[in-house]
Amino acid sequence: MRQKELRLITTFHTTADALACERACKEQGFSGRIIPVPRQLSAGCGLAWSCEPGKEEEFAEFLKEHGVEFDEMATILF
């Protein structure tokens, strides 16, 4: 198994929210990708967004601005 890295992981209640997040990030040129929800976080819809750690508050703000509802946000090793 590869080395784990610190990532900012965001989970969602629905798949639609996760895909709305992906679309908003792509449009802004933010890097990141969809991953299955890590077990430390509640399972939610099964999809999570993984991106560079740090700037958690800004990212939450960015999602809110784009009308994307999310469940949890956490910086964990994945």
Binding site: M1, I35, P36, P38, R39, Q40, A43
Partner: protein
């Protein structure tokens, strides 16, 4: 660097690759079908004929003996909801199992709350096999039905429908089977196995399009309709007509999807044969299991000593999160699998994998030995380097 190989091993979720005849049938239907059952124009009749022929093929597949008792829905979840919500009354009791998918569990929890219908879930042994001997002990005077999946979508273990059907017959109980993982894979004979209702989904082992499914219902069983609406016939009746299959079908049918299911059923039964398909899939699953079983870091779930099972191999690597393993298989090797809970919470509780989940590999007719060997190599690499 060349393009990464892509191997799809999430066939228990849906068979991604469909036979070319299915693609052709749907494409042709999209430019030729009118609204089935609504008029007698040639285009509408074309749709009606294909749907009727699909009923005949399903009736034959499960040895139901009456195509009018085949109802089409958009998937097995809808069929199971119709059956579970439309058959029982306050005070009734049903017996089911911890192997069930949420398509059975959630309607059962709902009718417990809304209709006062109680349930008992039969457990499994350490390999995830149903404790069949527990069924009879849990039958009460108010027990009305046995509701069991044919095979677990998590462990792949299949239940002995003959044995359960005998118990149902002896005690005069309805026997409802969730064949989501086994329709088109393992033989199901409703008459021989005393089954009253088989719920199936079109997009897994039947190799049809998503949005198709249904149930085969033994004659004389009255399911109260979940929905009512246009049927194209008996338009002046205030309620849904009593005649089957109209009793349980309303609104415009998914004729385009059913054209695909019709083609896949013909392909499956008349061209390749379901025994052939199962033999191929199970050989691949075995090859995968055999290729990994010596690895100490890998833990398998399910009973791999029999071929009477779905072509599913679920495992974990040491105590790694199944999501991490599945993600690495996808991103580093292009292998699609399914981690987590697989919509079947009770079997994960029984197997002790609520926290870790499992990584599920599921094989189809369109997978090859090369796919398996590639996946074995990938998992071996991940399980060595820990």
């Amino acid at each position: 660097m060349g393009e990464m190989r892509r191997v799809y091993l999430d066939n228990a979720a849906t068979t991604m690759q469909k036979p070319p005849c299915v693609v052709e049938a749907v494409t042709a239907a999209l430019t030729s079908f009118g609204n089935s059952g609504r008029d007698t124009g040639g285009h509408a009749l074309d749709a009606s004929r294909v749907i009727y022929d699909a009923r005949c093929l399903i009736s034959d597949l499960f040895n139901l003996g009456n195509p009018k008792q085949v109802v089409f829905t958009c998937n097995s979840t809808e069929a199971l909801n119709m059956a579970i919500r439309g058959l029982f009354h306050r005070g009734d009791h049903v017996i089911s199992s911890v192997m069930e998918h949420n398509a059975v569990l959630r309607p059962l929890y709902d009718i417990e709350e809304d209709q006062g219908v109680s349930h008992t879930f039969i457990g499994v042994d350490e390999k995830g096999r149903l404790l069949v001997s527990e069924i009879e002990k849990n039958i009460r005077p108010e027990t009305k039905a046995l509701i069991f999946t044919h095979a677990s979508n998590v462990t792949g273990n299949a239940n002995d429908l003959h044995a359960i059907g005998k118990i149902a017959k002896k005690h005069g109980l309805l026997f409802i089977v969730d064949a989501s993982q086994t329709a088109g894979v393992l033989p199901i004979d409703m008459q021989d196995m005393n089954i009253d209702i088989v719920a199936f989904t079109g997009h897994k082992g039947l190799y049809g399009p998503q949005g198709t499914g249904g149930m085969a219902i033994r004659e004389g069983i009255d399911i109260h309709p979940l929905k009512s609406g246009g049927t194209g016939v008996l338009s002046y009746l205030k309620h849904q007509p009593e005649e089957m299959p109209t009793h349980l079908e309303c609104g415009t049918m998914n004729a385009h999807g059913l054209a695909g299911l019709h083609a896949s059923l013909n392909w499956l039964v008349k061209e390749v044969g379901i025994d052939q398909v199962h033999a191929h899939e199970i050989a691949l699953a075995k090859r995968f299991y055999e290729g990994l079983k010596d690895m100490e870091a890998i833990r398998f779930y399910g009973d791999y000593d029999t071929d009477q099972r779905a072509a599913i191999v679920s495992l974990n690597i040491a105590d790694y999160d199944s999501s991490e393993v599945s993600d690495q298989l996808e991103s580093d090797y292009g292998i699609s699998t399914r981690p987590g809970a697989h919509c079947a919470p009770l079997i994960h509780e029984a197997m002790g994998t609520v926290n870790q989940g499992m990584v599920r590999f599921a094989f189809s007719w369109f997978n090859t030995e090369e796919d398996v060997d590639y996946a074995v190599k990938a998992v071996r690499e991940l399980a060595t380097d820990i």
